[in-house]
Amino acid sequence: MKRTSKDSRCKLPDNTALKQQQLPAYQLQLSATGVLSGFFATGVFCLGVGIILILSAKSIKEIEIKYTEICGNCAKLREDATNFDKECTCSIPFYLSETMQGNVYMYYKLYGFYQNLYHYILSRSNSQLVGTDLKDVGNCAPFSKSHDGTPIAPCGAIANSIFNDTIILSYNLNSSIPIKVPMLRSGITWWTDKYVKFQNPSSINLSSAFAGTTKPPSWAKPVYELDEEDPGNNGFLNDDFIVWMRTAAFPTFKKLYRRLNRIQYFTEGLPADFPVTRFRGEKSVVLSTLTWSGGSSLFLGLAYTVTGAVTWLASFSMMAVHLLLKDRKMLFIQQ
């Protein structure tokens, strides 16, 4: 409303490239000629990688032994809660037709076990697992405390539902005496898990460290007695426990169980303990080797190959269109 004489200061905008939107620029214009080479290159690359991947996936030796039904009796036994501490064993003989070279990894594989459920994932206490506060059972309900109020260690649904089958690999040379295959229990966890995220409470010995806590309801033994052979593999630092606690992304998953040296011919004696029927799932044991790209499946190789093929197809079709319309394009320029 008011005219102020102060307005007279110069309002001339700066003449800079930025302010005048005149920055030097590359103009992105997708056109056939520029794109075609890119398409071809991508196609070549994808095809190459795909073939390599497929080949390497082929080199992986993998054998899966399902034992849900064979060990069904044990499962039935387990269904009765009073029998939880009874031993039940079943054995599945299998024949390895090919030599598995190199390191062999033994996995257990579960079908339809939803470790990724929202509530399930949450049901753990990280501060307890890291050994700082055993009594902290924050998110673990209803597996936080026993009936008498003592905190459960390790608490929560994940720990409670741990896979507790014991798998023993035996080697039957001539169907007489099975020789137990030596298996490495170590090195199956992430290094950071074992040394950072999971720690036992500091004390003279484990049992005293876990004093004042109780075992999860479905566990047979307390956490400090998981591995009777190796005392260092007990408590929260138990490798099998750590592996289990890293919740799988999909309902069907395998988890590393043991590492093996070279194997040729085996019979398997398995104490089938793990209840599978409750979630109508299945369980199996997988023996597998690894390649440079990890235990990647065939899929990635296929996907690469397909992508490469599609890219080539696209580039060919573009070329076709390009050739077809070349005259018209010239027309446009001269029009």
Partner: protein
């Protein structure tokens, strides 16, 4: 204190405001102040205070739907049954959004606060009883009831009732430019009864009570009365009210009492805050958001049902199904319902929260660049573009209709004398034309010019007797503007050539207007003529022969005399010069002059009563000397001063003779003084105050030939001749200009010859009718000569008109003393009559103004603003329909339309002027039918498309044959259309028209038209205007643009953007509009894509986690993803990306159509991008899924490649969208990508157990050491983007769209590009813009003479290239190349319609000849009739 009690009682009684003086209660406590209930003068436009800011701002922000939605989501997060990870975290986005908006609001409010503070602390002078004098106070301390003294050029602080003016006649001049944009001076009058106080006003003696209406926002409405202590009442009206914001001019001191203060002033009440406008993209976006919400609900529903079904597959609870804390499980249905809520939280990002913030930020960035554009900066006014609305920049790219004001918007409103013709010889003033062609140079030194010589014309001396200062005789002239006050008050004729110098603004006196270079050929002739005049004085009884020399002298005398220009000096306050100031320079007879002044002053005093009589009546010319004038003053109920008046009247009546003697005595003495030599250039400091710029231009032109108007009083005009002699003419009578007669006349007595001469100036069409008939002249030589002159003048007039000049004819007539006396008595009778007064006055004028001798004609240019035709052509090419809505006269508007190429000479122009609805309907029907014939059958689709111009859809061959159509319509007709529900017909017709002109439209009509077009055709509209009369139109349109720097601030205040020149509109729309639109539109689409794509990843995962609402991505990463990792590139894209370079956009306006058609953002693009987002999210999820299936990967390790993949995909997608890669684009893209990795790595390395259940410790690091991760991360984006990339490449190579072609052209090297653009343009427009060359292709129709016999100069106008005729008289159609009989159905009633015929080329001379000859025999009745008719069409 009786008054006080009464006052209080009155306030309760009715809706009145009672104001008494504050002075009696001064110094006492506040409670005793009688005016304490009224609002103070402090204004506060800021919304918040420091304390109230946070609650108030949050409250206001929550009014926005989106914010409310997000708040709801946050609340939902805190509901325990809903499985939210961390409710606190979910508050972060909404908090950031609210904070950003709050900061923006706070900043805006701070600006308002600061400007309030400046205004509040301005100083004014208020009377204080303690000090017994006026003391300085701040505006904010002014209260109702205070007495304020204002000096010249001060701004009025509040609404003030004028009680005293230093002007002896109690007049105070006011410039209301700040308020309504009118730059001419207005007069305000002291309240009756206060004008006696000659010396000084004594506020302490004021003990009256003022009763007036409550505050309202009618600027021109105010009523009240003043109650004197003795119970008598004096009424007053708006003519005594000084409005806040106006500027005092020409008045030394004015004193008044404050009536309304602060927010109750009319100015503030009129100043409604800016309304919130929502852009089209935003509206479109909101509907799409609803789609998204629908999508969200669908997905949530799938989740809920899926959860229910999945849970139902288990007969007993599996070990991973975790019961609640008490160990019990939820019922399935309830679980499903809870899952629904959980899913809403999980997928909430589908509604892009950050979109709103981003849009605001992007718009800020766009506005920043708008502000900084050098091309939109105007050096003259030192103003760049101002964006007052921050949220509709992108609408600039979608405009389909532009509504423009004319004066000051298209034109500079600087009238410049261009050329003239005298006695049939043309003087082209080449130098003048050259000077005008290079306006820049001149403008640059305009400051000097104003310093040197400021001549001003504050116009509007129309309030009649008020201006008289002791002059008894004639009133100043009145022109059409003032005759129609209600309409005219809205419509400004003028603008100021306002230079930012220390000088006060002076109307119509920029250097361009003042400085006329004389024609070389004419100059010597003028000198001869002047000499001839000199000699005339020697031989007194010289006979006025029609020689060229005398005609030239007469011509310039007419230019000088025949106007209502007042002269004043530059000294402040500008005082009216009633006698030449140069006399001072003589120094010879100062005493004599003093004596003279004294005598004049005495007269003034004795006459001061009469000056207070408000006579708003119109055409009344009081002819002082020769008739009793009582009637003209008698119309008021002013009983107060009736006593004084009657004596005055008596004095007048009785002393006419005496006065005459006295007057002649004065003359004698004056002449004695003035005839002295050596006047020279001693008086450069003259302001010419003209009512209209035309007059000013003519006076300046005469001045250039040294015929200088030195002074003007109602009774005398002094002219200085080139030789320095001053001639003083007695003005016997002035017949003011009015729109019906379209001419004005001045009757003067020549000081040398003593002849009574009538000088008439007017529209050519009118004057040509009134010329004396050559046939009547006995001498055949003279007759021939006259015919020749007339024919040649007419030819020149046509030439001028074609050049877009405003033409005026100058004529004179000498009458005998007896005739004049007879006429005066006739005139007196007419004045005295009560009925039919107007008609009679008109008749008397016609009796005088006939048998004129043509002297010549002038061509005045209302200069178009620089670049207007070019801008209009570009806008039109861009597919924008341009309408001109003006309050101006039809002829002027049409003229301007031609000169700015809005209409073309070859167009068929329909003009509709009617008041009756039936007539209007039939005309519309007729026109429609005719136009449809022109355009053939393809029209209907064009109509549907709404905004398409006919020319563009037509093949070139057929187009050549089809004339463009223009429509001219006036305010009355518009009224009929609106009342008669003919809007749809009107709109249909307008869609065939190339351009539409609405003349004589009121501000309300302007806004109604804008609304009509906007709503009925649902198009994007833009209004551009510069004055207060455009405010309503500016507000009605989707985008309002104010032109700043010319007129007042009203238009700017109400506009969304303010630019300083019309031509800036071109770049603003074509370049910035296009950019803003395409940037923002593509950014919005991108945002939708981005969010849908990302959220779907989570959704797909639900199928693998039992619909439990788990995520595989860390929550923080998810938030960071939207807030940091992917937010910057779209912002940079939205601010900086240029799909096409500015030069190309300017060169190929057609590209603008992409914005009009919403090519970047429409349902199609939206859904395509949504589908694409679905595809991409599928790829991004399932390739990793299939890769990692059956492996020992854990939940969050799986999330990391997914997150990385989607980020890569989304950024690459953005990279494909960016058309212009600058270093910033690249940096931001790469930076975002790197930022993701750095942030993730740091986060994953430091956070051991921080975000349960994620525990992201070392996840990223672990992934980076896994070759599978890289393999997946390379493959997936390739797969995801392959289709789009393929499609874009195909489109980029073979696409047909204009944008793509333009992009290609853009990439070419400069020389090739220019070539390509030329070929493009020629391709688009096979027919070049029809120029003069084309006229030959389309011969002018042989218009039958009959047409012109019947035609009547209906609605005047200065320059005419076309003649109107009655539709009925001959139902002929005229198109460019055919003229055939075609009786229009149902047009029998269309009496008032007229068609314009274009007369071009060879037929011109013949037609003009026919015209004049046909006219002569029946000119009286016909002109009479025409006046009646146009009158009837002009008054409602």
């Amino acid at each position: 204190m009786r008054k006080e009690g009464k006052k209080r009682w009155k306030r309760k009684e009715d809706k009145k405001r009672v104001v008494v003086s504050n002075l009696p209660s001064e110094g006492r406590s506040y409670k005793e102040n009688p005016n304490r209930h009224y609002c103070g003068n402090q204004i506060k436009t800021s919304k918040y205070t420091v304390l109230s800011f946070i609650p108030k701002n949050i409250f206001e922000q929550l009014h926005r739907f989106a914010n409310l939605y997000f708040l709801g989501i946050v609340v939902l997060n805190f509901v325990p049954v809903v499985n939210a990870f961390q409710p606190e975290v979910s508050m972060i986005p909404i908090c950031i959004i609210l904070a950003v908006t709050a900061i923006k609001d706070a900043w805006e409010d701070l600006r308002r606060y600061k400007s309030d503070k400046v205004i509040n602390n301005q100083e004014c002078i208020v009377y204080s009883r303690k000090e017994r004098s006026y003391v300085q106070k701040c505006w904010k301390d002014v209260r109702v009831g205070d007495f304020i003294q204002m000096k010249c050029n001060e701004i009025i602080p509040a609404d003030i009732l004028l009680l005293f003016s230093s002007d002896p006649s109690g007049i105070c001049h006011l410039e209301t430019a700040n308020l309504d944009g009118e730059t001419n001076l207005k007069q305000r009058r002291v309240v009756k009864g206060f004008s006696e106080q000659v010396v000084q006003f004594e506020p302490e003696h004021f003990c009256n009570t003022i009763v007036c209406e409550k505050p309202n926002n009618h600027l021109n409405k105010f009523k009240g009365y003043m109650e004197h202590p003795d119970q008598t009442r004096t009424g007053f009206g708006s003519e005594s009210l000084l409005l806040r914001g106006c500027t005092i001019r020409n008045t030394e001191v004015a004193v008044g009492i404050v009536i309304y203060a602060g927010h109750e002033t009319k100015a503030m009440l009129n100043n409604s805050g800016p309304r919130y406008k929502r852009s089209q993209i935003e509206r479109r976006m909101n509907t799409d958001i609803f789609f998204c919400i629908g999508l969200l609900f669908l997905m949530c529903l799938i989740g809920a049902v899926g959860h229910r079904l999945w849970n139902g597959t288990f007969e007993e609870h599996p070990p991973f199904d975790v019961p609640d804390a008490k160990g019990s499980f939820l019922p399935l249905a309830l679980g499903g319902f809870y899952m629904f809520l959980t899913m809403i939280i999980l997928l909430q990002v589908l509604i892009p929260v950050s979109l709103y913030v981003s849009i605001e930020l992007v718009k800020l960035g766009q506005v920043f660049f708008l502000h900084n554009d050098l091309d939109l900066y105007d050096e003259e006014t030192n103003l760049s573009i101002q964006c007052r609305a921050l949220n509709i920049t992108e609408d600039l790219g979608q405009i389909q209709y532009v509504f423009s004001d004319k004066t000051g918007t298209l034109t500079e409103n600087k009238m410049v004398f261009r050329r003239c013709t005298i006695m049939g010889s043309e003087y082209s003033h080449q130098e003048n034309a050259k000077r005008l062609e290079t306006p820049k140079e001149l403008d640059s030194d305009s400051e000097e010019w104003t310093q040197y010589q400021c001549l001003s014309f504050p116009a509007r001396w129309a309030q009649g007797p008020a201006t008289l200062r002791g002059q008894r005789r004639a009133q100043p002239l009145r022109r059409c503007h003032s005759a129609q006050v209600p309409i005219q008050s809205h419509f400004r004729q003028r603008s100021v050539g306002r230079c930012e110098s220390s000088q006060p603004p002076v109307a119509f006196s920029s250097s361009i207007e003042k400085d006329v270079t004389p024609d070389k050929n004419l100059l010597p002739k003028v000198q001869d003529a002047a000499l001839w005049l000199e000699t005339l004085s020697d031989s007194k009884p010289a006979k006025s022969s029609p020689s060229t020399t005398s005609s030239i002298a007469d011509f310039f005398l007419a230019l000088t005399i025949c106007n209502s220009v007042m002269v004043s000096t530059t000294t402040e306050p500008r005082q009216r010069v009633t006698m030449p100031p140069s006399t001072k320079a003589l120094g010879t007879s100062l005493e004599k002059i003093q004596q003279l002044f004294h005598r004049l002053k005495l007269l003034n005093l004795s006459q001061s009563f009469s000056s207070t009589a408000p006579s708003d009546t119109d055409l009344g010319e009081s002819l002082g000397d020769n008739m009793p004038t009582t009637d003209s003053e008698e119309r008021d109920d002013a009983s107060v001063y009736s006593g004084g008046y009657s004596t005055d009247g008596g004095y007048r009546n009785s002393t006419w003779d005496q006065g005459n003697i006295q007057g002649s005595g004065l003359d004698a003495s004056l002449e004695e003084v003035l005839e002295a030599p050596a006047l020279g250039l001693a008086s450069p400091e003259l302001y010419y105050e003209a009512e209209s710029p035309d007059e000013a231009a003519l006076v300046h032109a005469a001045h250039a030939y040294s015929f200088t108007l030195m002074s003007r009083t109602p009774e005398q005009v002094t002219v200085r001749l080139p030789q320095g002699t001053c001639l003083t003419f007695d003005v016997l009578c002035t017949l003011g200009f009015d729109s019906v007669r379209k001419r004005m006349s001045v009757v003067v007595r020549h000081p040398l010859t003593g002849e009574i001469i009538i000088y008439t100036k007017g529209a050519d069409s009118v004057i040509m009718d009134l010329l004396e008939d050559p046939a009547c002249v006995t001498d055949t030589d003279v007759e021939k000569k006259m015919r020749k002159i007339r024919a040649r003048t007419q030819k020149h007039l046509d030439l001028y008109a074609r050049d877009g000049l405003r033409t005026l004819c100058i004529a004179k007539k000498v009458i005998t003393e007896d005739d004049f006396r007879r006429w005066v008595s006739f005139r007196c009778e007419a004045e005295a009559s009560l009925d039919n007064r107007d008609d009679l006055l008109m008749e008397t004028a016609q009796h005088l103004e006939n048998q004129l001798t043509l002297l010549g004609a002038t061509g005045i240019e209302d200069r178009l603003q620089e670049g207007v035709p070019d801008t209009i052509a570009a806008l039109r090419e861009a597919g924008i329909q341009l309408w001109v809505l003006t309050g101006d006269k039809q002829e002027t508007a049409v003229n301007i339309a031609y000169s700015c190429r809005l209409l073309d000479q070859t167009d068929t122009v329909y003009s509709i002027n009617t008041e009756s609805q039936e007539t209007c309907e039939s005309i519309l029907n007729c026109a429609l039918e005719e136009v449809k014939q022109f355009h053939g059958p393809q029209k209907p689709d064009r109509k549907l498309s709404g905004f398409c111009l006919p020319s563009e859809t037509l093949p070139p061959t057929s187009r050549a044959a089809i004339p463009e159509v223009g429509l001219v319509i006036d305010g009355k007709t518009l009224n009929a259309i609106f009342q008669g529900k003919l809007e749809m017909k009107f709109l249909e017709l307008t869609q065939y028209c190339r351009s539409v002109l609405c003349c004589r439209s009121t501000p309300l009509q302007k806004s109604m038209i804008v609304k009509l077009v906007r709503d009925k055709l649902s198009v994007m509209t833009l209004s551009i205007g510069d004055g207060a009369n455009d405010v309503s139109m500016i507000q009605a349109a989707d985008i309002g643009i104010g032109i700043s720097g010319q007129e007042g601030m009203q238009a700017v205040m109400s506009s969304d953007f303010a630019i300083s020149r019309f031509r800036h509109l071109k770049k603003l729309l074509l370049v910035h509009g296009h950019w803003c639109y395409s940037r923002l539109a593509r950014m919005v689409v991108y945002y939708f894509y981005k969010n849908v794509c990302y959220v779907n990843l989570l959704f797909w995962y639900q199928f693998f986690c039992g619909f439990s609402g788990s995520t595989m991505i860390d929550y923080w990463q998810m938030i960071f993803f939207n807030l940091f990792f992917t937010s910057l590139p779209p912002l940079v894209f939205g601010v900086l990306d240029k799909d096409i370079s500015g030069e190309t956009l300017l060169a190929l306006p057609e590209l603008y159509k992409s914005g009009q058609n919403s090519e970047c953002y429409n349902p199609m693009t939206f859904w395509i991008s949504i589908v694409d987002a679905f595809y991409q999210s599928l790829v991004c999820f399932f390739i990793p899924y299939l890769t990692y299936r059956d492996s020992d990967i854990d939940v969050f390790t799986f999330g990391t490649p997914i997150n990385t993949i989607s980020l890569t995909t989304i950024l690459l997608y953005q990279a494909m969208e960016m058309k212009t890669w600058t270093i910033i684009h690249g940096l931001v893209l790469v930076g975002s990508f790197l930022m993701y990795f750095v942030a993730s790595l740091v986060y994953n390395a430091t956070c051991v157990n921080c975000n349960s259940p994620t525990n992201p410790y070392w996840v990223m690091e672990g992934q980076l050491s896994d070759p599978t991760f890289y393999l997946v991360c390379f493959l997936t984006p390739v797969m995801a983007l392959l289709p789009r990339y393929f499609f874009l490449s195909l489109q980029g190579t073979y696409g047909k769209s204009l944008i793509l072609k333009a992009q290609k052209i853009d990439k070419l090297p400069t020389d090739k590009r220019d070539l390509e653009m030329q070929s493009w343009r020629s391709r688009q427009r096979p027919v070049p813009i029809p120029g003069k060359a084309q006229h030959t292709h389309h011969p002018v129709p042989p218009v039958p003479e009959r047409a012109f016999r019947a035609s009547t100069p209906k609605s005047s106008s200065p320059p005419e290239r076309k003649y109107k005729e009655d539709w009925v008289l001959h139902g002929e159609k005229c198109s460019r190349d055919h003229l055939k009989d075609h009786p229009c159905p149902g047009d029998s009633s269309a009496k008032l319609s007229s068609r314009e015929y274009l007369l071009l080329g060879p037929s011109k001379t013949t037609t003009s000849g026919a015209y004049s000859s046909g006219q002569t025999d029946e000119y009286r009745p016909s002109s009479r009739g025409s006046h009646r008719r146009s009158q009837s069409s002009l008054t409602i």
